[in-house]
Symmetry: C2
Subunit: 139 residues, 2 copies
DNA sequence: GATACAATCTCCAGCCACTGGAGATTCAAG
DNA sequence: CTTGAATCTCCAGTGGCTGGAGATTGTATC
């Protein structure tokens, strides 16, 4: 039961090797042992942990949020209200970003749809960028 | 007509002083002159340019895109198809991000809605993060 | 056992788009 | 002329990685 090398863990968790080392540096994960030559050795528990981290990152959680969530996950007997709070506040931020992005799309759509494809001097895209007042006013 | 100082320009364009200096460093804007003591001096044209940059940034354009758009804006007699292409490709990316974010919101919503508010050992939030298969499968 | 070559090691730099601070200098008002 | 705000340059840090240099280790083949 030698454990697996960092490269294999990277494949399993669909991560880059450097990313794993970076996560170690910031204290999110660490190998259960090292080989005689100094290579990191990981077990299945580490793979689960790394997948947890990656999944949370995919869902847009920040590193500090993930640190808290990992801490909670490590202590299954505590109340999950903390996890709930983190997830809810994250959801709120996602919804905020969504709103902004939707307004943005509207604006960009109007810009490109009204472009007459002539000279820059009459280009709607450039015009709108030059003058905020010509926006629809959503942002 | 001494021109205005960087602080005033910053107020006018709703930017930070450092940001203006940064834009100068990367070659987006530069003062038309310097005072005897070395302070940057800007004119109304600079203000328009900076507003253009800020507006494009607000709309999510990257610095390199802005550099191109500025170049187009500086040459009003060229075809605006380049501007159109930039804006369109940007719109596409925004729509992509929107789709991702919408899937994300769905996932997060499900997560927090199904949280039973008990112990972490049964927390839906932690569970979903631990196991991608428990996602709705949208991402 | 020797050799070749892939994988890993540490350390450091860079990405984007700023932001902040230190310490020195200049400007504008009174 | 003094004072205090504004500006100057230079450097470091943010988040979340990513890539490379140069040295070492691990493993498969002969």
């Amino acid at each position: 039961m030698a454990g697996m090398a960092i490269g294999k863990l990277a494949v399993i968790a669909a991560t880059k090797v450097q990313t794993i080392r970076y996560y170690e540096e910031i204290g999110l994960i660490r190998p259960f042992a090292r080989s005689e030559g100094g290579h990191r050795l990981y077990g299945p528990e580490d793979a689960r942990r790394l997948k947890f981290i990656r999944h949370a990152r995919e869902l847009g959680f920040g590193i500090e949020e993930i640190r808290e969530l990992l801490h909670l996950s490590d202590n299954p007997d505590t109340s999950c209200s903390a996890a709930d709070i983190i997830a809810r506040s994250h959801l709120e931020q996602v919804e905020l970003r969504l709103k902004k992005l939707q307004a943005l799309r509207k604006e960009l759509k109007r810009m490109v749809e009204e472009c007459g494809h002539g000279r820059v001097s009459h280009c709607r895209v450039i015009e709108v960028l030059s003058d905020h007042k010509r926006c629809g006013g959503e942002h």
